[in-house]
Amino acid sequence: MGEAAGAVDAIEPAGVLEPWEVFRREKDGDPMRHGGSVMAPDATLALHYAREMYSRRQESVHLWVVRRADIHDLADLDLLQPPLDRSFKKPGGYVMRDKLAAARQVSGQAKPKANKGAR
């Protein structure tokens, strides 16, 4: 926290209380997830308040604050839904059942059992 507070001193006070989005890691190994938001005049107090609002019961192991105005999002959501076929990018795009059956018939081998034992 000391490091973070030092690093943010350069940011000028905004002149208004504004929303800061809070991201938190609940336990080691988890991704940072959005927790909520706090109103604060600057990053130093935003971090103090994020700690109070999102970890006063030690429910976070890491916290970020991001000024809401600094978040950029993709304007055109249509770009996330390409209209043409992208099945070659996904496992489900490869259907081999019939071809495998034919191959087994040719080789005379039975379908192998799933091997769950120690090798």
Binding site: M1, L45, Y49, E52, M53
Partner: protein
């Protein structure tokens, strides 16, 4: 622990406090516990009425931390005096003159500037005191001081951020801050005033150095910070011989309030 029994539960007799290790240790623990207890009470008055909601939650955590520290210190105290009282009995069942918190903490809550000024003066002094106890030979205290210092680090960051904002937040905040520092400045050093028996503490390796040396170091650090913010350095302590006695009316009012429920049914379990 025989020589201590006569002093309780009424006011500590400072002039009679001798050089015994246990007795001096008990006095040190009680003074620290009472400091944390009283500032915790004053700060907890902000819960529910803080200047902004986020800050309200923050100051309440600080108050809870101080009270938690008081509780831990009272527990060490009862282990040392071993007179059958528990931490709650020590915390609540003394008359007002039986408390030995520093005079700085006798000031009422006041406005936000008073709270910040008092917290800043206290936190910096307490940090200096804890630093002098970091290597204490009394193992239970050493373990506790280690934990206290971890929490107090956040307290110092929080209060220093506010000191800076009030000092630079325009005419009115600055005027209020200066008024608070002027009123409480002469009492700030009471947190680090010499304790009876402190030479025994130093001799036994409980305290690294006498309070006068701790206070001098604290004054140098705080003066640099205050002057850096364009504020006046702290004046010398007024009446240092009564740093922890002769409490204010504000504390007596506080005492009447915090003992109210307990007094209503003496000996009951709550």
């Amino acid at each position: 622990m025989t020589d201590f029994a006569g002093l309780e539960p009424i006011a500590m007799d400072f002039s009679g406090a001798g050089g015994g290790r246990e007795r001096a240790l008990a006095l040190l623990l009680l003074s620290m516990a009472d400091d944390e207890f009283v500032i915790g009470f004053s700060d907890s008055e902000w819960t529910g009425i803080g200047p902004i909601l986020e800050e309200d939650v923050a100051i309440s955590s600080l108050a809870q931390d101080e009270l938690g520290h008081a509780q831990a210190l009272y527990r060490l105290f009862v282990d040392v005096v071993a007179d059958g009282r528990d931490a709650d009995a020590v915390a609540y069942d003394r008359p007002p003159d039986g408390y030995i918190h520093a005079r700085l903490l006798d000031h009422p809550r006041g406005d936000w500037a008073w709270t910040i000024a008092r917290r800043w003066l206290y936190e910096t002094a307490d940090a200096a005191r804890l630093a002098a106890l970091a290597e204490t030979s009394y193992e239970p205290l050493r373990q506790l001081v280690d934990k206290l210092r971890r929490e107090e680090r956040y307290h110092e960051m929080h209060v220093d951020a506010w000191l800076e904002r009030l000092a630079g937040g325009g005419a009115e905040p600055r005027r209020r801050l200066e008024a608070a520092l002027t009123a409480m400045g002469p009492d700030a050093g009471t947190v680090l005033a010499p304790l009876p028996g402190e030479l025994a503490l130093v001799r036994h390796g409980i305290l690294a150095e006498p309070f006068a040396a701790i206070e001098a170091r604290w004054r140098a650090v705080t003066s640099t910070r205050l002057i850096g913010l364009g504020l006046a350095a702290l004046p010398p302590t007024t009446d240092p011989d009564h740093a922890r006695s002769g409490h204010s009316d504000a504390f007596r009012v506080l005492h009447a309030d915090f003992t109210m429920v307990r007094r209503s049914e003496v000996g009951a379990t709550w």
